[in-house]
Each structure stands twice: as C-alpha cells, then as structure tokens.
Amino acid sequence: MATLENRLRIQVAPPPNQKKRGQGLTFRTFLSSPAIIYLIVLTQVPVIFTLGYSLSNWNFLRPERTRFVGAQNYLDFFQDADVLVIIRNTLVFASSVVLLSLIFGMLLALLLNRQFFGRGLARTLLITPFLIMPTVSAVMWKNMLFNPAFGLISTFVVALGGPRIDWINDFPMASIVTIVTWEWTPFMMLILLAGLQSLAQESLEAAQIDGAGPIETFYYIVLPHLRRYIEIGVLLEVLFVLNIFGEIFVTTTGGPATDTTTLTFNIYLESFKRWNVGRASAYGVVAVIFANIVTFFFLRIIRSGEQKEAQG
C-alpha cells in the first residue's frame, strides 16, 4: 500500500526541481531522448527496410533480376499451399505450448501457494528449465531424453514393456511441444503464483464460511481474481513462443518435410537457405503485424490495470 501511495504522490506532486520548471521539459527530453532515438534507429528503421524489400523479388542468388513487384509476395503468401501448412503448424505449436503450460503452470502454482517444508527448494527446481539456455535444452532433450536407443524416456518405456520409439522422427511436433512446454511452464507458474499471492486471504475465508468447497472457491473466487494474470501470461508467452527458433533448428530443422516448419522457421529458411529476400520480408511483415496485434492487447491490459490502481 505504501508503494501505491508513493506512486500517486509522484503523479500529483509538482516536478522536483520547481525552480527549473521551465527547463523541466527540455531536461526530461534530454534524459530520455538518447534511449528513444536508439530504439527508433535499431528497431523501427529495420522494419521499414523489411517493408521495402517485401515489395521486390530480390533474391541474393539472382540479384541482377531484382525489380519492384508490388504486393505479389503477399498475394503469393495467401495462395501458396505450403503457407497453409506453415500457418497450421504455427497455430498448433503455439496453442499447444501455451495451453499445456497454462494448465501445468496453474497446477504447480496452486501446489506452491502453500506453506510447507521444502517449498523454496521446490520453487527453485521448478524455475530452472526456464533459465537453461534454450539451445542447451534442445540438445539435451534431443540426445539424452528422446534418443531411441539410450534416451531416458525410451529406457523407461521399454522397461515397462512398451515399444522402442524414435520420438523426434515419429512424433516431431509433439517432441518440440514437449521441450518448449517444459521450458515455458515455469514462466506461467511464476506469474500465476504472483497472482495467487496477491489474493486476499479474507475472501477465501469468507467463501469457506459460506460453505463453498475447494472447487467452487477456485471457480468463483480464485479464477476471476487470476484473470488478469492469466491474460498477461498467455499474451506474453504467445509473443515469446512465436519467436522460437533454436529448439526447432536443433531437433527437426523444420522437418520431416514441412511438418514442424513454423512461420518463424520458414522465414529463416526463406532468407538464409533460399536467399529469397523479397518473400522472406513479406512473411516478416506478417509476423510483425501479428505480434503487434498481440502486443496491443497486452498493453491494453497493463494500462487498464494501472488505471484501476490509480483509482483504487
């Protein structure tokens, strides 16, 4: 609460250097403009380049034939049969990972939101997959867990009398989803745990006195309270998961055929394997637009939260 008051006071209080009020604006600009300019040059200018390239048929292998083709790359995007597969892969991949990590993250957050001996240790162990370098995770899972001959999973399944399965070749998408879910469940868990810890103990007790069981309490009290946290977690994870590249590169390289090629991976193939700058850029613009839509909703939630805080 103290922090909230301070924040409000800062909003209402006059600028600290009252005497220099006239200079306040220029001083503010002086302090923040280097960062802003840096971000514009490094992030917005390249997007404009991408937009420009996307209107050409520039290919590094045939640079002499480069010409302006207008919206052709975008039209191709909607007509190409492969694109449908790629979009389907992207949706299957992102939604499976987000949904699974939401479910597991929720369960783990509920389990961790109790006082017990070893809680700190459990939490520390549980967040580790998120901290491990993604390419290390991918190399580790591919070799030591998914390997059909000596991998841990196969050893375990065979010991139970099951068949010996070459996970990455037989179930490529499920394998990648498994790795990425393992990496991202801690993220969801941490956000939901923060949400659970901000839930007032009184409302839980009140529900119990009113005779609500654990499921009813969860559904009517906990879940509505967590809504904002779930939204933030899901949107952020969508943004991060859509950018995933290393795990796919290490395990399946987008294959077999195009079975695990997502939009991100396809842009890599289009630009650095086929050197098709024009088309890769058009796909890149699509990726940027999509990310902006998700970001828009994310920022709207943050903003509404801040307004609520300011009013409360």
């Binding site: 800062i10 909003q11 600028p15 600290p16 306040g24 604006l25 001083f27 302090l31 923040s32 280097p34 960062a35 802003i36 840096y38 971000l39 917005q44 390249p46 997007v47 380049f49 991408t50 109790r114 017990f116 070893g118 520390t124 162990l125 967040i127 580790t128 901290l131 370098m133 390419t135 290390v136 190399v139 580790m140 591919k142 070799n143 030591m144 390997n147 001959a149 000596f150 993220f187 941490l190 956000i191 923060a194 946290y229 933030i232 950018n243 590249f245 590169f249 939009l263 991100t264 890599y268 650095f272 890769a280 850029s281 890149g284 990726a287 970001t295 939630i301 943050i302 903003r303 801040e306």
Partner: protein, 275 residues
C-alpha cells in the same frame, strides 16, 4: 478427526509438489551427472546411476574445443550490451519516473512494444546492413542489437523501481540542497540498488541465452556460446559426456543468476505488470 485428515492431505500435497519438482528438474540433474561420466558409462542400458566420476570431459570441452573463445565472446557481448543499455536506459527511466508528462505513458507503451518486435521481422535488413557496413560477425554488431533488446527492459524495470522510492527521502535531499548528480548517486542509486541488480540479471539471462540473432549474424569470430553448443546437435559418435560438460558450464551462470534473482524475475518478465 477432520483436522487430522486435512493435515495428512496437506502433507501428501507437499510431498507430491516436491516429487513433481524433482521429476521436472531430473533431465538437468541427469545431464549434470552425465558430465562426470566416461563416454562408455554415458551410453548404457539401463542408465548408470553409480559410477566413478571423472573431470576429463570438462578438460576436453574446455581445452580441445574453442570453448574459451566463445565464452569470451559471450561475456564481451552480454557485458557491453547490458552496460550501454543501463547508460542509456537509467536516465530515461529516471525522467519517466520523476518528470512524468502527458505523453510519458504512451512513450512507455511504445518502448515495450519495441521489445515485442519479432526478430524474424527485421533479420533480413539487419543481415544486409551488417554485410554492407562490415558489422557482420563482429562483437560490435551484436552488442548494438543486444543493447536494443535490453533497453526496453531497463527502462521499464528501472522506472517501476524508481517510482516506488519513498518520495519524502528525495524531498529531504532537495531541501538539503544537494545537486541532481549528488541526489542520484548518493540517494537514489543506493535505494534502487536491488532493482538495478534485478535488471542487470534479467538482461544477462536474455542476452546470454539469445540464439536466433547470434546464429544468423555471426560465423565464428564473434559467435557466442549459444551458437557453440548447437555444434552438438548431431547424435553421431560417442559424445554425450563431453556434450553434457560443455552444456553444463554454458548454462550454469544464468541458472545461478536466476536462482538468486527469483523474486525479481516475475516483475522483470512481465514489465512490471505483475507485482
């Protein structure tokens, strides 16, 4: 009777939680264990739990490969990009926290949106520009890009930490007539130090682990560890123990940093949207 049963159920849940945590952590533990095996011990069916540990793999991974070159590149790139991001970002965060104007909120939102820009959306022009300006496969090039990745994080986190500082202390300092620089170095910085450390750790986690940009914009001169570790992606030959050793020392610094900064992790990850 009822309370007794509830207590028992509580203990069962606690044990379950710890078991799940151990299960999820197990692959990492297994990799760590394998890094101390001989290659022959690493490939057994059933897997070996008891074995004579050896440090050979670390010696091989460290000396026979170019591990130290990659490590040096990573440290250089991560260090400088974090430092420059702080130098640019902390003043911006300061002004946004203490001199909020009409457009401050919009600026903050825009800053965050630049962090959400998918790297694939800009990788082609970056490649072209880097080739043309001789930035390709240079430390300087990667430092520039990673700084842009860290900057939104620094601005958001530091603004949120600075805005939480008790205002009375700042006011008291002003009445004492200290200059802005004194006020910043003597009062604000010490108070915001935990926040600053958390910010640095998050920058470290993200840039240390970054792969996509590094992989496409370097070959070998400036390639960081994330690129080095991918050379273990083929599963031919006996190499699990060496791979485990290399992977362990590669991932370890960030894992430790993350363990230390657990509490600040959430806040940094969600841009302060979640307290």
């Amino acid at each position: 009777m009822k309370t007794h049963r509830r207590k028992l159920a509580g203990h069962a849940l606690s044990v379950l939680t710890i078991l799940i945590a151990l299960l999820i952590f197990f692959p990492i533990f297994w990799m760590f264990l394998t890094s101390f095996k001989t290659e022959a011990d690493a490939y057994t069916d059933p897997p070996l739990l008891l074995f004579t540990p050896t440090l050979d793999n670390y010696q091989v991974a460290l000396q026979q490969s170019r591990y130290f070159d990659y490590l040096g590149n990573t440290i250089l790139i991560v260090g400088f990009s974090t430092f420059v991001a702080l130098a640019l970002g902390v003043p911006a965060a300061y002004s946004l926290a203490f001199y909020p104007g009409k457009r401050s909120n919009a600026t903050l939102m825009w800053v965050m949106s630049t962090r959400m820009l998918p790297p694939v959306g800009v990788i082609v022009p970056l490649y072209v520009i880097f080739k043309n300006l001789a930035l390709f496969d240079t430390h300087f090039g990667l430092i520039m890009l990673y700084t842009a990745m860290n900057l939104p994080l620094v601005i958001w986190m530091m603004r949120s930490f600075l805005a939480d500082l008790p205002y009375e202390i700042l006011e008291a300092a002003r009445i004492d007539g200290s200059s802005l620089w004194q006020e910043f170095t003597r009062i604000i910085l010490p108070l915001a130090l935990p926040g600053l450390m958390a910010t640095i750790l998050l920058c470290l986690i993200f840039t240390w682990n970054e792969f996509f940009i590094a992989f496409n914009l370097t070959i070998n001169k400036a390639a960081p560890l994330s690129v080095f570790i991918v050379s273990f992606k083929t599963s031919e030959g006996l190499f699990w123990a060496k791979m485990s050793a290399a992977a362990t020392i590669t991932a370890l610094p960030v894992v430790i940093a993350g363990w230390v900064a657990q509490r600040q992790l959430v806040r940094g990850l969600t841009a302060g949207a979640v307290k």
